[in-house]
C-alpha cells in the first residue's frame, strides 16, 4: 500500500509541475490584460529607419485616443524574415496580433489564406479613390480590399551630382550610359580613394527580385505574360537583361560584395561617398542628406532608373500597407489606429520627417512637402506608374524560384543563363498551375 501511495504522490507531483509550467504563462497573460482599463492593440512592425518620428506619432495617437494603448512588436528588418515571423503568428491564429504591416506583395496571399480582414465596409470605394491607384490595386484581391497603403516606394537612381558635373556628364538615360560614366569616373577618381561605380541590392532575398525586374522590364521583357500568366523569364529580352547585370554590373562597376547586400549595406556604401550611382527606394534621399549619417549631403541627385536602348524606364512598386488580423479581438480599436496612421496629417508627417512617399494623391500637391522634398514632385510620374510584382497568393514560392535563379546566374561569371532561365521558367509555370 505504501508504494502505491508513493507512486500516486509522485505522479501527482509530476503532473502538478507540468500543469503549473504550462498554465501559468497562459493565465498570466490574460490577467495582465484585464488589469488594463484601456483597450490594448498589438501592432507587428519593423524597426524603422527614423525611430524618433515614429515615437512621436505613437505619442500623438495615444494623446488623441486615451482609451487605446498600442503595444509594438518589432520584427526583423528584412522583409523575407518579417514575412516568416508574421505568417507564423497568423497561421497559429494568434490573438496577439491586431494590426500588422504588409509588404506590397503580400495582400493576395494574406487574403487567400484568410488571415487579413476584408476592409470594404470601413474603407469604401469613395475613400479608396483618394489613394494612388497602383497602391490600391496591390491591396485588392478578387474584388475586395485587405489593406490600407501607408507609404509607397519605387526604385530610383541616386547619383553623385558633384562627380557627374566634374566630368561633364548628365544623368544617364540608358544602363549602358550609366556603366560608361561609372567606369570613366572610377578610373579617374578611384586613383586617390576607394570608389565604386554602383551599389544596389543583389543578395538572395526579395529585394533581388525588385532590382532584377527593373532591368528586365526596361529591356521590354517581363516576368509573367500579362495575358496568359505564363513565365517569360526565358525569353531573349529577359535573358539579355540578366546577362547585362552579370557581365557589366556585378564585379564590374559594382563590387562583388553587392551579392551579399540588402538595402542597409548598399546605402552605407553610397552615403560614405564610395559609390557614384545607387539604386534604392525613396527613403534613401532623406538618409543621404542627413548630416549625422551621410558624408555626401547636398551632393546627391535623383532621377528615373535608366533603361535599355529601345525600352522605357521601369520602377518596381514597393511600399507598406496596414492590415488587420481576422483573429483580432479588438477590430474596432485596430481600425481606429489604421485610420489614424493613414490619415493625411500622419502621412504628411512621415513624408516631411522620414522621407516616406505618401499614398494619398492630394499630398503630392502639398506645398510644404514639395518644398522639403522636391524629389516627390519630380518623381511623381514614377510613383504613379511604378510596376507591381506578380500578384498571386503563391507569390512567396514564385519569388523564391526567381531569387534562386537570379542569384545563381549573376554570382557566377560563367553561368549558363539560357539553361537556368529555362529551368526556372518551367518551375514557375508548375507552381502557378497549382493556383488554377
Amino acid at each position: 500500500m505504501k508504494k502505491w501511495k508513493l507512486a500516486w504522490n509522485a505522479a501527482l507531483t509530476i503532473f502538478a509541475v507540468f500543469a503549473i509550467t504550462v498554465m501559468v504563462p497562459i493565465t498570466g497573460c490574460t490577467k495582465k490584460e484585464e488589469d488594463e482599463t484601456r483597450t490594448v492593440i498589438r501592432f507587428v512592425t519593423w524597426k524603422p529607419n527614423q525611430p524618433e518620428v515614429w515615437e512621436e506619432i505613437f505619442r500623438r495617437f495615444e494623446a488623441e485616443h486615451p482609451d487605446i494603448r498600442v503595444v509594438r512588436e518589432v520584427g526583423p528588418h528584412s522583409t523575407t524574415a518579417f514575412h516568416d515571423l508574421l505568417t507564423q503568428k497568423l497561421k497559429n491564429r494568434s490573438p496577439d496580433v491586431d494590426v500588422f504591416f504588409m509588404d506590397v506583395i503580400w495582400p493576395p496571399e494574406f487574403a487567400s489564406a484568410g488571415w487579413a480582414l476584408p476592409l470594404d465596409e470601413r474603407f469604401p470605394h469613395s475613400e479608396q479613390e483618394k489613394f494612388l491607384s497602383g497602391a490600391i490595386l496591390a491591396n485588392s484581391y478578387k474584388g475586395r480590399i485587405y489593406g490600407v497603403p501607408l507609404f509607397v516606394g519605387s526604385g530610383m537612381l541616386y547619383y553623385r551630382k558633384d562627380l557627374l558635373k566634374r566630368y561633364g556628364f548628365t544623368p544617364p538615360d540608358t544602363w549602358q550610359e550609366m556603366v560608361e560614366q561609372a567606369w570613366k569616373i572610377v578610373s579617374e577618381e578611384g586613383k586617390q580613394r576607394e570608389l565604386y561605380g554602383f551599389s544596389g541590392q543583389f543578395k538572395q532575398y526579395e529585394g533581388l527580385v525588385c532590382d532584377m525586374m527593373e532591368y528586365i522590364l526596361s529591356n521590354q521583357g517581363s516576368i509573367l505574360n500579362p495575358k496568359t500568366g505564363g513565365s517569360e523569364i526565358a525569353k531573349p529580352a529577359a535573358v539579355g537583361a540578366v546577362r547585362f547585370v552579370r557581365d557589366s554590373i556585378i564585379g564590374a562597376i559594382a563590387p562583388k560584395g553587392v551579392l551579399t547586400y540588402q538595402e542597409p549595406e548598399s546605402i552605407a556604401l553610397f552615403i560614405q561617398g564610395k559609390a557614384v550611382f545607387h539604386r534604392n527606394w525613396p527613403y534613401a534621399w532623406e538618409m543621404s542628406n542627413n548630416p549625422k549619417r551621410s558624408k555626401i549631403v547636398g551632393k546627391v541627385g535623383i532621377t528615373k532608373l535608366p533603361h535599355f536602348p529601345g525600352g522605357t524606364s521601369h520602377a518596381t512598386l514597393g511600399g507598406w500597407q496596414l492590415g488587420i488580423s481576422k483573429y483580432s479581438q479588438n477590430k474596432k480599436a485596430a481600425w481606429t489606429f489604421v485610420r489614424f496612421l493613414t490619415s493625411k496629417k500622419i502621412q504628411k508627417c512621415l513624408a516631411l520627417k522620414a522621407g516616406l512617399a505618401p499614398t494619398r494623391k492630394a499630398l503630392y500637391e502639398d506645398h510644404e512637402i514639395i518644398k522639403a522634398h522636391p524629389q516627390f514632385w519630380d518623381m511623381k510620374e514614377v510613383f504613379l506608374t511604378a510596376y507591381p510584382r506578380p500578384r498571386t497568393p503563391l507569390y512567396p514560392a514564385l519569388s523564391n524560384v526567381l531569387q534562386h535563379y537570379f542569384h545563381k546566374v549573376i554570382s557566377d561569371p560563367n553561368s549558363d543563363i539560357e539553361k537556368e532561365a529555362f529551368a526556372a521558367s518551367q518551375e514557375i509555370d508548375r507552381i502557378l498551375q497549382l493556383a488554377q
Binding site: 505522479a11 493576395p108 496571399e109 487567400s112 560584395g257 551579399t260 549595406e265 564610395k274 503563391l394 514560392a397
Partner: protein, 302 residues
C-alpha cells in the same frame, strides 16, 4: 511464494507509473510530430491556397523531391558540412582537451575561457562572423590586406569561401564542447599509467597512441555522435550568414525545409523534407549506436 509474486507485480506497476510521465512527454513532443510530419508529407497543403483543400497525393511529394535539384544540392551540402565540421571539431577538441588537462598556472581561467564560444548563442556568433566576413569593414580583409582596399574580397559572395566561413564559424563555436567531453574522458585515466609508461621509456607519442587514445575512445565516440547529430540540424548559421546563397552553395536541408514551410507555405512538401532529415539522422544514429555498442563493450570487457 504467492506473496513474493505479488510484490514483484506491485513493483512493476510502480515502475510503470513512474515511467508514464516520461513516456507521455516523448509521445507528445517526439512521436506525435514525427508521425504528423509523415502524414502531412502525403498531402498537398498550401497555406496561401486553402481553397484547394488538403488532397491526399500519396508519394507525389517524394517523387518531386527526387527531381528537386535544390534539395539534392542541400543534401550534399548538409553531408559535407556534417563531416568536415565534425572532423575539425573533434581534432581541435582533442588538442584543446590535451592542453587543459595539463597542470599549469591559470588553468581554471583557461578552461573557463575555452567555453566562452560555446556559451554564446549561435545567432549572436553567426552575426559576428557575418561582420567578420564583410567585404568593406570585415576583420578578415583587414588582417589579410590591411589598408589595401583594392584587394578586399567579398567572402560570403564566393561559393567556396561562404561554405568555408560557415564551417569555420561552427568549428569555432563547438570545438570547446567536444573538448569538454574529451576532457572528461582524459580525467578518468589514472596518473599511475603515465608514470609506469614513462618508467618503461615510452615517449610522448607512444604514450598518446597506446594509453590516451584507446582510453578516451568512448568519450571520442560520444562526442562524435553528439556533434554529428547536432551538425545535421545546422540552421541558424545559414539563416544569419548567407540565407543559403550564393547560388545555393550554403543551402542545407533544414534551411530549405524551413523556407518551403514558413516562407512559401508549402506544408506538404516542406514536411517531406523534414521526413528526409529525420530518416537520415535516424539511420545515422542507428549506425553510430551499433559502432559504439560493439566497440565500446569490446574495449571495456577486454
Amino acid at each position: 511464494m504467492k506473496r513474493r509474486h505479488s510484490s514483484i507485480t506491485k513493483e512493476r506497476i510502480f515502475a510503470v507509473w513512474l515511467l508514464i510521465p516520461c513516456f507521455l512527454v516523448v509521445c507528445i513532443f517526439a512521436f506525435y510530430p514525427i508521425v504528423y510530419s509523415f502524414f502531412l508529407s502525403l498531402h498537398r497543403i498550401i497555406l496561401g491556397l486553402p481553397s484547394i483543400g488538403q488532397p491526399f497525393i500519396g508519394l507525389e511529394n517524394y517523387r518531386a523531391l527526387l527531381h528537386d535539384s535544390i534539395a539534392l544540392r542541400s543534401l550534399v551540402n548538409t553531408f559535407a558540412f556534417v563531416f568536415i565540421s565534425t572532423f575539425f571539431e573533434l581534432l581541435f577538441g582533442l588538442i584543446i582537451a590535451l592542453v587543459i588537462n595539463k597542470h599549469f598556472m591559470g588553468r581554471g581561467l583557461v578552461r573557463a575561457a575555452i567555453l566562452v564560444p560555446w556559451a554564446i548563442p549561435t545567432v549572436v556568433s553567426s552575426q559576428m562572423w557575418r561582420f567578420i566576413c564583410n567585404d568593406n569593414y570585415g576583420l578578415v580583409n583587414y588582417i589579410l590586406f590591411g589598408s589595401d582596399v583594392a584587394q578586399y574580397k567579398a567572402w560570403l559572395a564566393d561559393p567556396f569561401f561562404a561554405f568555408a566561413a560557415i564551417v569555420v564559424a561552427d568549428v569555432w563555436k563547438t570545438s570547446s564542447f567536444a573538448a569538454l567531453l574529451i576532457l572528461a574522458g582524459l580525467q578518468t585515466i589514472p596518473d599511475e599509467l603515465y608514470e609506469t609508461a614513462k618508467i618503461d621509456g615510452a615517449n610522448a607519442w607512444q604514450r598518446f597512441r597506446k594509453i590516451i587514445l584507446p582510453l578516451i575512445k568512448p568519450a571520442l565516440l560520444i562526442a562524435l555522435l553528439f556533434r554529428t547529430m547536432d551538425a545535421f540540424r545546422v540552421f541558424d548559421l545559414v539563416f544569419v550568414m548567407t540565407q543559403g546563397g550564393p547560388a545555393n552553395s550554403t543551402n542545407v536541408l533544414q534551411f530549405y525545409g524551413y523556407k518551403k514551410i514558413f516562407a512559401e507555405g508549402f506544408m506538404g512538401y516542406g514536411s517531406t523534407i523534414s521526413v528526409l532529415v529525420f530518416m537520415t539522422v535516424f539511420v545515422l544514429s542507428l549506425l553510430y549506436l551499433r559502432i559504439i555498442r560493439t566497440r565500446l563493450f569490446a574495449e571495456t570487457v577486454t
